[in-house]
């Protein structure tokens, strides 16, 4: 039976954290992201479920904290109708920050002409960019009328699940084309610190996690030919240039693929030829495309039913 991987985050001192990484490798888990900050380190990991106890014991010994992060391995687009500087700080910034605490990678997308009611629009490029993510989370404002009647036109052409946040209490089914509505987070021009605001963000993380779980279940019915985390490990091992990339997440995991932050023209062939121990190469199991984000590489892994094998 295949190993089930559970997403976890470790927070602790940088001292001896290498022991944790060695144990993770021995157990067959994957390191998704490593974020050092002065003397502290945050490790985002996928750990085999049967061996979590071992990792917990070692974390306790190192005086660190290991907790579950249900959003690990996902990339979410936090879309705001505007990211105008005179409205800073945007509540979308806190929304993105809170989602990251849940383990996911977020990209903030401010639409060029998304503000207003009648005049709100989204561009073709913006829609394609949003569609590269696992989920699109639209951060809206205060008014029920705008959210129900005017803003849903921004969802046209969005093929990934759409989550909407706003201030009023609205039923999801009242908003056309939205897959989930989360209330209590509207346009707020200060950093979200009050109890009620933080409750709203906690609620958001819980609901987005539920949505991710249901998407994972859907994928599990027809599993991917290779785990994105496994592909990530092979890319890290076989393409040494990835270690020179300075972005916080040089390889970003998605539910059904990954984004590699290397130039497409230069690396797409080498990435396609990544070899796996079992025999196949990556291009036999995945579609390797240029990403709409900068000049990056987008990899979408095919399902077992499409390629008729899996590793």
């Amino acid at each position: 039976m295949a190993t089930v991987l559970e997403p976890y985050i470790y927070e602790g001192g940088i001292y001896k954290h290498g022991l944790l990484l060695e144990l993770l490798e021995d157990l067959g888990g994957y390191l998704v992201q490593k974020i050092p900050a002065a003397t502290e380190i945050t490790l985002v990991m996928l750990i085999p479920d049967k061996d979590i106890r071992l990792m917990e014991d070692l974390s306790t010994k190192l005086l660190g904290k290991l907790y579950k992060s249900p959003l690990t391995g996902t990339e979410i687009a936090v879309v705001s109708p505007t990211l105008a500087y005179h409205h800073l700080p945007h509540s979308a910034c806190d929304v993105a920050e809170f989602l990251r605490r849940g383990g996911c990678n977020t990209n903030m997308i401010g639409l060029a002409r998304g503000m207003g009611r009648r005049v709100a629009l989204s561009g073709d490029y913006e829609r394609k960019l949003i569609n590269e993510h696992d989920i699109a989370l639209f951060s809206f404002g205060t008014f029920r009328d705008c959210i129900i009647n005017k803003k849903p036109k921004l969802f046209e052409g969005i093929e990934v699940p759409v989550v909407v946040t706003g201030a009023p209490d609205i039923k999801t089914e009242d908003i056309p084309n939205a897959d989930m509505y989360i209330g209590g987070i509207g346009r707020i021009s200060h950093r979200l610190r009050k109890g009620s605001e933080l409750d709203g963000l906690d609620n958001m993380n819980a609901k987005v996690s539920e949505l991710i779980d249901s998407m994972r279940e859907e994928i599990a019915k027809d599993p991917l030919a290779v785990l994105p985390a496994r592909a990530m490990k092979e890319i890290t091992d076989q393409i040494p240039e990835i270690s020179t990339v300075l972005t916080p997440a040089p390889i970003t995991l998605q539910l059904d693929g990954l984004r590699v932050k290397l130039p497409y023209d230069e690396f797409q062939e080498r990435i396609g030829n990544i070899e796996f121990d079992e025999g196949p190469i990556l291009s036999e199991m995945a579609r390797i495309m240029p990403s709409k984000m900068k000049n990056y590489i987008l990899i979408k892994i095919q399902t077992k039913s499409e390629v008729s094998f899996g590793i």
């Binding site: 409205h87 503000m115 207003g116 009648r118 709100a120 205060t142 705008c146």
Partner: protein
């Protein structure tokens, strides 16, 4: 926000008005306008894409002089200098800039963090002159901050705007459709509620 005599935000749904009040309140706080505004009323009707705001400013914001934040005296015996002991460091850059212009940069020294000395002949004669230097005129910056606040508080897409600034009376109307005269009249009426009918704005 206790210094505002009137702070009203109205909308079609009262819960949304309360929420929007927080946005306006944040804009006022960020731009340090709470002391300068006496009355403010905001009406927002999302279904008509309409934002109206009427503000009455407090009059008589006096300019900040050196005596307001510092003590001016003579230096130690035998030294020909005026010594300025500062209580509020916020005005220090403007104070130095003024002193450099008036007394010359070579004559202005800062021996300690909160002490500035000015070398001059007959220091006793110069004390009153330095005490009366106007360091900041809040009225001058107020109007630009007020306009900034109005733009921050307005929904981003409402780009068709009318404003009127007449003395201490400010009116701001914004929409994304064609501006209607009745909306501007309504805003003037909102202002008249505060002033007792003295409002007569200039369109811009």
């Amino acid at each position: 926000m206790s210094t505002l005599d009137t702070f009203v935000v109205e909308s079609t749904i009262s819960a949304e008005a309360d929420h929007y009040k927080q946005i306006v309140s944040d804009a006022i706080t960020d731009l340090v306008l709470a002391q300068s505004i006496e009355h403010i009323k905001v009406v927002i009707k999302p279904e008509d894409t309409l934002f109206q705001m009427a503000i009455v400013l407090r009059s008589g914001l006096s300019p900040v002089k050196v005596t307001d934040f510092a003590e001016v005296g003579v230096g130690t015996f035998g030294k020909e200098e005026v010594v300025i002991d500062i209580d509020n460091e916020a005005y220090l850059p403007q104070l130095l800039e003024n002193l450099w212009t008036i007394c010359g940069r070579i004559n202005v020294h800062q021996p300690e963090r909160k002490t500035v000395s000015v070398s001059c002949e007959n220091p006793l004669e110069h004390i009153s002159e330095i005490e009366e230097i106007v360091i900041e005129d809040p009225q001058r910056t107020l109007h630009s901050r007020l306009v900034d606040m109005a733009i921050r508080a307005t929904p981003e897409g409402f780009r068709v705007r009318y404003h009127s600034l007449n003395g201490n009376h400010f009116i701001f109307v914004a929409t994304e459709d064609i501006m209607k005269n009745e909306w501007i009249k309504e805003a003037h009426k909102m202002l008249a509620e505060f002033t007792g009918g003295e409002s007569h704005g200039n369109s811009a």
